[in-house]
């Protein structure tokens, strides 16, 4: 109904986990542990997957809510690996990028998901995720729907120009003009790729190389 909002896409998936054990440990617990041990921020596998704005993984053990005598009690018969993502572009392109850039992690995380043993290649993976997909009922984008590269370039420009404005107060008109022209060349303002922030970057960009070039 509303998986998209402009050029942004909200992917919601529930992937059932096999009810079983390995070395006396439940497969859902093994899966959870693997997810919890994924590296974070720029080292996360999602940082390698093109156009990922946000992504998350968690295990849905059961449904639960405030109980009372006047309501029924539901329990799930399977546990589910919940994978959701907010990204730019269309679903097939995104899932292809996921497989191409993080195949090893995907195989590791989804290893114990029901029917994942049938996934042998990129095409199988796309089909698999689509089987697990739920249609988003209402998707809200409070940010932008630009490509991630454009967003990261803009954030770099924001950081760099704010610094420029701060450090060039009190200059003469001629000094300011020369410095500004040099700044525009150095930030390569029409080049979306470089220099720019990188996905998941945890510290501000070092602007010193910019000053020295």
């Amino acid at each position: 109904m509303a998986n998209t909002f402009g050029n942004s896409y909200g992917l919601t998936t529930l992937c059932p986990i096999i009810n079983g054990r390995h070395n006396n440990t439940a497969l859902d617990k093994i899966t959870r542990r693997r997810i919890q041990l994924l590296k974070e921020n720029s080292a996360s596998p999602f940082a390698r997957i093109p156009n990922t704005y946000f992504a998350r993984l968690f295990i849905l053990n059961d449904v639960f809510f405030e109980q009372g005598n006047d309501v029924a009690r539901d329990h799930l018969k399977s546990k589910y690996l919940v994978f959701t993502s907010n990204f730019h572009g269309d679903l097939d392109t995104y899932l292809s990028g996921m497989w191409q850039h993080a195949e090893a992690e995907i195989r590791h995380i989804w290893q114990h998901a029901v029917a994942f043993n049938n996934v042998q290649n990129e095409k199988d993976f796309i089909a698999y995720i689509k089987k697990c997909q739920l249609t988003t009922s209402l998707f809200f984008n409070g940010s932008t729907d630009d490509t991630l590269q454009d967003q990261l370039k803009s954030l770099y420009i924001k950081q760099a120009f704010t610094e420029f404005a701060l450090t060039h107060q009190g200059k003469t008109a001629a000094q300011l003009r020369a410095a500004f022209n040099q700044f525009i060349r150095q930030v390569d303002i029409h080049n979306p790729v470089s220099p720019a922030w990188s996905p998941g970057q945890e510290t501000l960009s070092d602007l010193n190389p910019l000053q020295q070039r």
Partner: protein, 224 residues
């Protein structure tokens, strides 16, 4: 493993609703989508959300991929709410409750045991009880808020236009005037970005352990 990734908090809330009211709820969402931005104006005003979504999971639509997988037999359908927002959990719930109480009630009114968004205490309890923690949460720009992303886009577009509008035969003084005008026009988009302020004692503890572990990893092998 955390609900926090830089300046963003990832929230998941799963709540039950009767299967026939789930269909009504879908209709409400459909109307919201069709009448946007009227109903979502409050959310835009909040300005602290990157992306949020509501997904109705009908009681018969939990994915079943193989005959060996037991079929779910549920009484209720479920609504999964997910949000990526800036600030703390408390700030978010407070903002929602105070800014768009009517909108919240419209989105959750059919959910079992939903107490309404006011008074706040019961609403707090309801969300907390039904929240599921993230096992892995990724944010492409941990140092930036949703407002930073939007203002960065405006600033970059304006800066490109400004740079392209400059000519060689312009005097230095004319450049200075234009530059000052540019700064005045774009002052709302200028501002420092960086680490998130600490939101809670647990957040503080996580940051502390990260620093300790990072320092430990940097030790030469013989010292470790």
């Amino acid at each position: 493993m955390s609900n926090v990734a830089g300046k963003a908090y990832g929230m998941n809330v799963l709540t039950p609703l009767r299967w026939w009211t789930a269909l009504w709820q879908k209709l409400i969402f459909w109307v919201v989508v069709k009448t946007f931005p009227y109903f979502l104006k409050g959310l835009l005003t909040l300005s602290l959300i990157h992306y949020a979504r509501w997904t109705i999971i009908n009681r018969w639509s939990f994915p079943r991929l193989d005959k060996t997988q037991p079929k779910e037999t549920l009484t209720y359908s479920y609504m999964l709410f997910e949000s990526n927002f800036n600030g703390s959990w408390d700030q978010y719930i407070d903002s929602f409750s105070f800014a768009i109480p009517g909108g919240l009630d419209m989105f959750w009114r059919w959910n079992i045991k939903y107490p309404k968004s006011i008074p706040l205490h019961d609403f707090y309890h309801y969300i907390r009880f039904n929240q599921i923690e993230c096992d892995h949460y990724y944010n492409a720009y941990p140092l930036a808020s949703a407002n930073d992303v939007k203002s960065a886009k405006r600033l970059t577009g304006n800066l490109r236009s400004f740079a392209d509008s400059l000519t060689d035969n312009m005097t230095d003084e004319a450049f200075m005037d234009a530059y000052r005008q540019f700064l005045a026009d774009n002052q709302h988009a200028l501002g420092s970005m960086g680490d998130s302020p600490l939101m809670s004692t647990s957040h503080q503890l996580v940051q502390h352990h990260k620093q300790v572990n990072t320092a430990h990893e940097k030790q030469p092998e013989e010292e470790a």
